[in-house]
Amino acid sequence: MLRIFIHRLLLGIATVAMVSGIIFAAVEALPGDACTAILQRDASGERLANCRRELGLDRPAATRYAEWAFGAVRGDLGISAHNNKPIASLVGDRLKNTLLLAGCSLALGIPLALFLGVLTGLRRDKFSDLAISTIAIFAMTIPEFVTATVLIFVFSIWLGWVPGIVTASASSSLSAFFPGIVLPVIVLTMVMTAHIMRTVRSSVIDVMSSDYVQMATLKGAPYWQIVFRHALPNALLPAINVIALTVGWLLGGVVVVEKVFNYPGLGHYMIDSISDRDLPVVQAIALIVATAYVGVNLAADLLAMTFNPRLRTLKARSP
């Protein structure tokens, strides 16, 4: 078990290292650099060369990559080209906000998704299944900005229950985000719940028609004992990986929702940095998102291993 864990961890670190190289190369390949972003129209001739010398951009790419990578390991992500502040603290604030948004959505969405998935799976083809599954398909297919706009219109403009946008700044304390965070959380929950629920539903249906559930029935086990002891521990395993992907998505990519609600999270900041041509920040955010994906998937694999005895047994059982 420990060996597998260390093995996976090393693989994860290798993946992040590779991704960092790709990110660096991609940013490098873009026309312009931090100096052109800082100097903007003045970026030519002597001033540009001076700036590059100052920031060390005239050195070879490999040296700069090494410097950036080692800095990132120590938590130093460089200086923003836009306002000359350390990126670590700028991104840190946004990361904290994104974590708050993701945490609230997950806390609401995962239990809801599991409950609905199990319910619809057990009540396959009955009215409740058809109704919930249909709503889920709608929630999945309607783009977030449409849902968000409709929710703002209904709950904020029409009913006036919650604010339509978040007015707190990036560095304000977490409590400042309530109640503005309510609508974005609802939008995100709708999308993710539908995904997870549909996976759980099909997995529950598979397991409920498996030989071992039939066997448990014929052993005389009561229905709820079959569901909780024999079916669910096996049926929920596939959900772990879907949840992991959802968490990764929530941490890095909810650009649209953050933008619509003016929520100062990572995605929002990423868009702003791109339009400001603040390449060091773009580079840093890309690295953080990649690391989050790898970390979450690693955690999911380990969880799956904990709950699935078949993954735990090593091949080596020879005499």
Partner: protein, 687 residues
């Protein structure tokens, strides 16, 4: 010892709603009573409704099925209308199921001990504190070594035989009055199967439980049951005592079924039962077997015969039962083997070793060879032009691996495969010349997986014809039709999809595809094991005919020893990827010399109520072949001594190309045998 009727199925019909909205019956008017202390076998081919019937005896219907008419009584009460809380007490407590494929019937997330404890808790006949001891006792009762260790294992950590024993222990946990066994040994190796059946027949003899044993395997039924019910197309067609049903049955279907079973003691090909049963809802007004019946008359088509009692006991659903005896149940002895003389050597495997061990990244970088014992090792076989060589052995014996190496799907780790006069064959398909690829064709076990479900039969057959012969247009079509006719299918099959064919027809298409390439060597990998016996006989007959017509060479891999006997000229016995014995089929079967061959052949079940398999080899789980000595040393009943563990066994020559790899001197091997000669004689009746 039989008592009152415990299980009583009355006029039961069960069906499902078809796509057309019509109710299609899978069981039709079943009447069957099982008494306490009685063991009833239910036989039938796939789709005959035997498993549906067994589950209905527990009041269980699979998703989509519903009762059309009738009742399923247990101890006088109808289980099909019983509220579920009462059903829960009866299931497992009064009547328990031993399922097919226990590997999938045990919950993968619970340890064996926990699952047994659950069964004990559900039917509360014991105090909580007595559970652990009872779990151990149950595991001992099904003869599992180290019950404490087994109880702490997860199901996937056990071998197939051990899983089956755990399932039996679980069924016994509730101390039921009746046991239902649904194909409990299907999918197990012969030696394991013989052990499980011995355990089951012990339970049958010692207790006064009512037992219902469902199987397609008449051999297994013969071993355990005193009474046999034959099902066909959802009906009971014959019901009688085991000896009569298995030797001289009064129904044409049962007689045809018996004739289609290959037997160890008979070197000839089994007789095929042509045609197939009507699909649910498609049986005409008459007898459901009429289209395949050799003695059918026109009244048989008009009216469905009733299940009539027979004077000698039992029941039969046939108008002409007196005349059924004219249908033979044994073969006349048309030998499959082409005789002793064959052409030049076509393939020579010399000192072949194959390893599945994957090189790790580090090993690859350092250029190291993969570690570990190879899956197949030290195999020397010479195959001559026009002969059929059978490879037999249990799962893990490496027989399919050798086929894959000859086909070029896995490369040998060492040794070589010489082909014809061209020398060593290149290791993999990519390196072989088109001519070599054409001449060596492979037929797979399961046509459902080897035929592309989206290609029509025409497209499937066109591939080799276009690829190897560049045919197109009318010539292509003509050749496709000619090939289909050779496998006894007509031109009207060309635009069908595989899903529109029966299992036997699909396998014929797979055979046609192989023969379309005009191969010299055909590799058959368990080609009949997914088929029903009556269909299997037809496929064997076809393979034999094709080989006579075109003097093709076959390498025939099968786990069923009787099937191999029917078709092969020579047979090689493999254990854990090592050769144990090789020789002419008649010599190896009539005089098995290697202890493993002896154990294997003596464990085979024959559909003969008098025969009883002899259990010689321990049924332990082999994890990997030993690095040194004889591969069979750990299970051998004739182990010589430490030499078996340290030294590779020498080749002993028994004459006529019969070679045995064993430390026992040749004189002792051929004379002092535990099992008497099989030949055409009767098998030993050990009582």
């Amino acid at each position: 010892m039989t008592g009152d009727i415990l299980i009583d199925v009355q006029n039961l019909s069960i069906g499902f709603t078809g796509r057309s909205g019509k109710l299609l019956p899978v069981l039709r008017n079943i009447d069957l009573g099982v008494r306490r202390g009685e063991t009833v076998g239910i036989v039938g081919e796939s789709g005959s409704g035997k498993s549906t019937l067994a589950l209905a005896m527990m009041g269980y219907l699979k998703h989509g099925l519903r009762v059309i008419s009738g009742r399923s009584l247990f101890d006088g009460r109808d289980l099909l209308t019983m509220p579920s809380c009462e059903l829960q007490r009866i299931r497992g407590g009064k009547i328990a199921l031993i399922p097919q494929n226990s590997g999938q019937s045990l919950s993968p997330n619970l340890r064996v001990g926990a699952q047994l404890t659950e069964a004990l808790a559900l039917h509360g006949k014991l105090a909580l504190s007595a559970f652990p001891a009872r779990v151990i006792q149950l595991l001992q009762q099904v003869r599992l070594p180290d019950p404490e260790v087994i109880a702490s294992r997860y199901p996937h950590e056990l071998s197939g035989g051990q899983q089956q024993r755990v399932a039996i222990a679980m069924a016994l946990a509730g101390e039921p009055e009746a046991l239902l066994l649904d194909e409990p040994t299907t999918g197990l190796d012969v030696t394991t199967q013989a052990h499980i059946l011995e355990l089951l027949s012990d339970i049958a003899v010692r207790s006064d439980k009512a037992m219902v044993y469902v199987s397609h395997d008449l051999g297994a039924i013969a071993r355990v049951c005193s009474r046999v019910v034959v099902m066909y197309a959802g009906e009971i067609v014959l019901d009688g005592d085991a000896t009569t049903v298995l030797t001289n049955p009064g129904h044409p279907y049962a007689r045809g079924l018996l004739a289609s079973i290959p037997r160890l003691g008979n070197p000839s090909l089994p007789i095929a039962l042509e045609g197939r049963p009507p699909p649910p809802g498609d049986a005409g007004p008459g007898c459901s077997f009429v289209d395949r019946c050799a003695i059918a008359e026109s009244p048989c088509r008009a009216e469905r015969p009733g299940l009539q009692p027979l004077l000698a006991g039992g029941r039969v659903r046939c108008r002409l039962t007196e005349r059924a005896e004219s249908i033979p149940t044994k073969r006349d002895g048309k030998p499959a083997s082409a005789g002793g003389s064959f052409g030049e050597p076509l393939v020579r495997l010399s000192n072949l070793a194959i390893s599945y061990a994957r090189q790790s990244l580090v090993d690859q970088l350092l250029g190291r060879k993969p570690q570990g014992v190879p899956t197949v090792d030290r195999v020397d076989i010479e195959i001559r032009q026009g002969e059929v060589i059978g490879l037999v052995g249990e799962s893990g014996s490496g027989k399919s691996t050798i086929l894959k190496a000859v086909a070029g799907l896995v490369g040998p780790a060492s040794g070589e495969i010489a082909y014809d006069k061209s020398g060593a064959l290149p290791a993999t398909v990519e390196q072989r010349r088109p001519e070599q690829l054409r001449e060596i064709q492979l037929i797979f076990q399961n046509p459902d997986e080897s035929l592309n479900p989206r290609h029509t039969i025409e497209q499937i057959l066109a591939q080799p014809l276009q690829l190897y012969f560049g045919l197109s247009g009318d010539a292509l079509r003509e050749r496709s039709i000619a090939i289909l006719e050779r496998v006894r299918l007509g031109a009207h099959y060309l635009d069908r999809l595989p899903s529109q064919l029966s299992g036997g027809e699909k396998q014929r298409v797979a055979i046609a595809r192989a023969f379309a390439a005009k191969p010299r060597l055909v590799l058959c990998d368990e080609v009949t094991s997914a088929l029903d016996v009556s269909v299997q006989a037809a496929v064997l007959d076809l393979l034999d005919q094709l080989r006579r017509d075109s003097s093709t060479t076959y390498v025939f891999v099968a786990h069923d020893l009787a099937v191999v006997r029917a078709l092969s000229d020579r047979v090689a016995v493999l254990y854990q990827g090592r050769l144990c014995e090789i020789g002419p089929t008649s010599a190896v079967y009539s005089r098995p010399c290697h202890p493993y061959t002896e154990a294997l052949i003596s464990a085979v079940l024959e559909p003969d109520p008098g025969a009883r398999p002899v259990l010689m080899a321990e049924d332990i789980m082999e994890l990997s072949p030993p690095a040194k000595g004889c591969p069979f040393q750990r299970r051998c009943h004739r182990k010589v001594g430490p030499i078996c563990e340290s030294t590779t066994p020498p080749q002993r020559d028994a004459g006529a190309g019969h070679v045995i790899h064993c430390h026992i001197p040749i004189g002792e091997l051929t004379s002092a045998q535990t099992v008497s000669a099989l030949g055409n004689a009767v098998r030993p009746h050990v009582q």
